[in-house]
């Protein structure tokens, strides 16, 4: 198979950039895309702003202050219609190249440079796919590189299809974000017990922090018994948090049930006065009865003791207790401690961090079988909508429809700016969902709360699971981690829905690497291959089919452009048209009609009239066509 070579360097985070999207585009695309990085370096002599310059062999080039690397791209990943011959072995390519494992290698000039690029990209939030291509990172020798003639930039013409190609890349990014959100969400949902341990470790950190606040403060209190009384609940809370984590660890490691047979064996080995299994059974019955009568928790203490005994080989819990006891002693007893407060604090922190990390590593290393058949999900580039086969995602028809409606509303108002989500766009989505599913219409409690018109909002206000997941997304549109924490804290079920909403809104490029590591881990290549094979036809559509979506621009852009045109349209034209074609026929007043005129896409126009004024689609189409005829189509419609 023939290959093309694209010379790059680590300048301006190019490595992090391409593996945040699994693609590379001509540099001119980046400031226009509205997603991911809005810049891309251009190396003098071998790169160009307008197009990707491809070479038939690794070229000789320099970038003194950065590490060089070359993308080796199989010709199967290239649309030959987009290749423009520049010189012998040198081509301009006017399109985005989407990566696939079998079509890409990354060539570095030294093992150290490869390692540094990898390690640095590990600390870049959106750079998730490097792990997936790890086995394709290779070394290349300078002697294998060939000198090519200098590029004559004047021969590379601006691409008149650029707006369409950028718009398609953008749509694909959000659709891919939805698919990855769905998969990440299903993993999070199905492994919530396993991920729960991470939460338990965080609870230990929190309880430790809470206690530390009080410990230092209490030093000024002279009455030691009062100090102990005040501190006791916090010390107790911390040790309970450790026991809780330990029990959860036990369940994950040894299975769910701690039955009587296990406790019998344990108590026989620990309590010499218990001589036989019936002795232990009677003893346990006595303990349970006492607990019920007096509200004690001695049975739980026995279970905790058993858990501790079994997990004794797991040093983290033993050491945590030991260090925390030493830590508290420093404050309670005036004696010279073995370790300083700072040292103990460091040791406790490192234990917790390493335990969390080891647990998550273990999780990533296990393979995962997706329970959704992605084949039942279809995406229409022109309508910018997904359609799901009924029952596809394990919901009933009503919920499936709600889920699909929300996804499509989000795709319609998907994020297209740097930085945090724009509140107006989130409100638009909330408004759209309210108009369709709430008796209050746009004025849902959620909408009022977001608008700061009411002080209190409860998740219980959401009518069902789909809407609870939607609210979770609305509260956390910028960070998957925050969304995840929210869903765990509020115990929202079927959380894959919220992850799907987030993915559709933010797009694949913005997804944090912390949430894709299970997918891109080498042990999950089956899942990766499955997602890749599902997405392949859509990549081919973007690269080769190029459906003409250019008229279907972002709602905000359409509004701005149409508003500008409307300003120049004589008001009497609008009034005349309204009087003869709209008044007494549709439930719109003149102001509402003028607003609707800004919607220059047929579908948006129809949707809006259906949602707001209950105009049937066939009637709104008639009206839409009449408007097109009456007003200058070149001015208002484009």
């Amino acid at each position: 198979m023939a290959h093309y070579y694209y010379p790059l360097s680590t300048r301006d985070f190019a490595f992090e950039n391409i593996f945040s999207t699994e693609s590379v585009s001509p540099a001119i695309y980046y400031p226009k895309k509205g997603f991911g990085f809005d810049y891309f370096p251009v190396l003098p002599g071998v790169n160009n702003e307008q197009a990707i310059i491809l070479f038939s062999r690794p070229p000789v080039y320099q970038d003194e202050n950065n590490s060089k690397f070359i993308l080796k791209i199989a010709e199967a990943a290239i649309n030959h219609d987009e290749l423009v011959f520049l010189a012998e072995g040198v081509f301009a390519y006017n399109s985005t190249i989407y990566f696939e494992k079998e079509h890409l290698s990354v060539l570095f000039f030294s093992a150290k440079e490869l390692r540094v690029a990898e390690l640095k990209s590990n600390m870049s939030l959106p750079t998730k796919a490097a792990e997936k291509y790890r086995s394709s990172f290779k070394l290349v020798n300078e002697t294998e590189c060939q000198t090519f003639p200098a590029i004559d930039a004047s021969t590379i013409k601006p691409d008149h299809e650029l707006p369409l190609k950028v718009a398609l890349d953008k749509r694909y990014n959000h659709f891919k974000g939805f698919i990855y959100g769905l998969v990440i969400g299903q993993i999070a949902n199905d492994r919530k017990k396993e991920f729960g341990l991470k939460v338990r470790f965080q609870e230990i950190t929190n309880a430790f922090a809470e206690l530390k606040s009080r410990l230092d403060d209490q030093l000024s209190t002279k009455d030691k018994s009062e100090t102990t009384r005040r501190l006791h609940p916090f010390i107790d809370k911390l040790f309970k948090a450790i026991s809780f984590a330990e029990t959860e660890y036990f369940h994950l490691t040894f299975g769910d049930d701690i039955g009587e047979p296990m406790l019998i064996e344990y108590l026989l080995s620990k309590q010499s006065r218990l001589k036989s299994a019936p002795d232990v059974t009677r003893y346990l019955d006595f303990i349970i009865t006492n607990d019920e009568l007096f509200g004690s928790s001695n049975y739980k203490k026995i279970v905790d003791g058993y858990v501790r005994d079994r997990t004794g080989s797991v040093k983290v819990f033993q050491e945590l207790r030991k260090y925390i006891e030493q830590f508290i002693e420093i404050f309670e007893v005036e004696k010279k401690p073995r370790y300083s407060v700072d040292e103990l604090n460091n040791r406790i922190k490192l234990l917790l961090r390493n335990a969390t990390e080891a647990h998550l590593e273990q999780l990533s290393a296990s393979s995962y079988d997706l329970r959704t058949d992605l084949g039942g999900i279809a995406y229409d580039f022109i309508a910018n909508e997904v359609a799901l086969n009924t029952g596809q995602v394990y919901l009933n028809t009503k919920a499936d429809n709600e889920f699909t409606f929300i996804i499509n509303a989000i795709l319609k108002f998907a994020k297209s700016n740097k930085g945090p989500a724009q509140k107006e766009m989130i409100l638009k989505i909330v408004e759209e969902i309210g108009n369709n599913y709430s008796k209050r219409g746009k004025e849902t409690l959620l909408y009022q709360y977001l608008e700061n018109r009411i002080d209190v909002y409860s998740l219980d206000n959401a009518s069902n699971l789909v809407m609870k997941n939607f609210v979770a997304f609305v509260f956390n549109p910028d960070s998957l981690e925050k969304l995840d924490n929210f869903l765990i804290s509020k115990e929202v079920e079927e959380r894959w829905m919220a992850f799907s909403f987030w993915g559709a809104y933010n797009g694949f490029a913005n997804i944090s690497k912390n949430y894709t590591r299970d997918i891109f881990n080498a042990n999950n290549s089956k899942l990766q291959d499955y997602i890749d094979s599902y997405l392949r036809p859509y990549i081919l559509t973007v690269v080769n089919g190029k459906p003409n979506i250019i008229r279907v621009e972002e709602p905000s852009e359409v509004l701005n452009q149409a508003s500008a045109v409307l300003e120049n349209t004589p008001e009497e034209w609008i009034v005349n048209f309204f009087n003869s074609n709209v008044a007494n026929q549709y439930k719109l007043n003149i102001d509402e009609f003028t607003e609707a005129l800004k919607l220059t896409q047929q579908k948006l126009f129809q949707d809006e009239l259906k949602l707001k004024y209950q105009v049937a689609k066939k009637d709104s189409l008639k009206l839409f066509n009449a408007i097109r005829k009456y007003f200058d189509p070149n001015a208002l419609f484009h």
Binding site: D12, F37, N206, D216, P420, D455, S458, K513
Partner: protein, 360 residues
Amino acid sequence: MPREKWLIDPSELDEFQRKIRGLSINESYVIKGCAGSGKTLLALYRALDIHINSIAEDEDDPASFTVVVYTKALKGFLRSGITELAIPIHQIIHFQKWDCDAVDYIIVDEAQDFTENEIKELSDASIKSIMLYGDSEQQLYKKKRNEKTSAMEKTLTIEQIAAQLSLPQFELLKNYRLPSTIAALAAHVGADKALESKCVKIGLEKPRLKKFGDWKKELDYIINEIHTRNYTDVAILVPFADRSKGPQNNFHRNIQDVNAYLDEKKFAHEYKTSDFGKKGLEIDFESNLPKLLTYHASKGLQFETVFIPFCDYPGHDRWFIDKYQTPLYVGLTRSYRNLYITHSDRVTPFFDGLSPSKYQ
């Protein structure tokens, strides 16, 4: 994997930040940056670059480096980042405990707080390069006692440090942390009226200004809002550490009373009073509990969400206005996303003339 707040998002960096991130680890230089310019994170990532290059070179014999800081709060903050980024934790040192050993690389944060001789000692101890980060505007003392010799010595501005060590100086002029929506309100209180124009972030929404029946209702609202939104990076800022501080009418506007009320409501939180720190403990940035602090104690720190309750007259009387303009300004500028201001009486005179367009 580090939590999201400790991972950089290169897609958010501008050209100038990228240029500074792109400097070689073997170059010595001085970075001057205004409040919120992200110089502490740049220092942290410089440490990471050194660590990465060093282990890629020779995992068994990595280069030596030390990050030296001057304030304990900053050390706590950086330690949290260093732990999450898996950089060896003992390489961040408070200057008091620095042993003057020569190392390959030295990174100094808050360089403006060190004396002339201390800077020289640090420079002499670096074998390959030294990187210093700071802001002359945030210099605490013109003269201070040398931590090692106890002699009174003058401190240096960032410009003077660059000149003394003959190092190139780069300046971060923009505020990357503070959203302009918050800056617009904070500028009304603070002296820097151009603050908004320095901010790069537009901001999700305007600060919220809310009135309640009494101070407890303000705190109830804060508790409820933290629960409802599940905020995990929060500060609640009050003017005083305890009742003995400030005038009598500042009852309840202190850590002591607010802490007691939050405990009564069984609302988990951390707090820090002025007496805090006898054993050297600092705020724990690995915890995701709300942190109850004084305005003063929040200096140099950043939070996703900041609540500032009790912003009302007569609490904010003449005495308060005279003494607390800068501390309140510090508090108002700690958030990188959400700011809530509450009051239960006539709103603070600090907001006299504030346009309603600056808040919601």
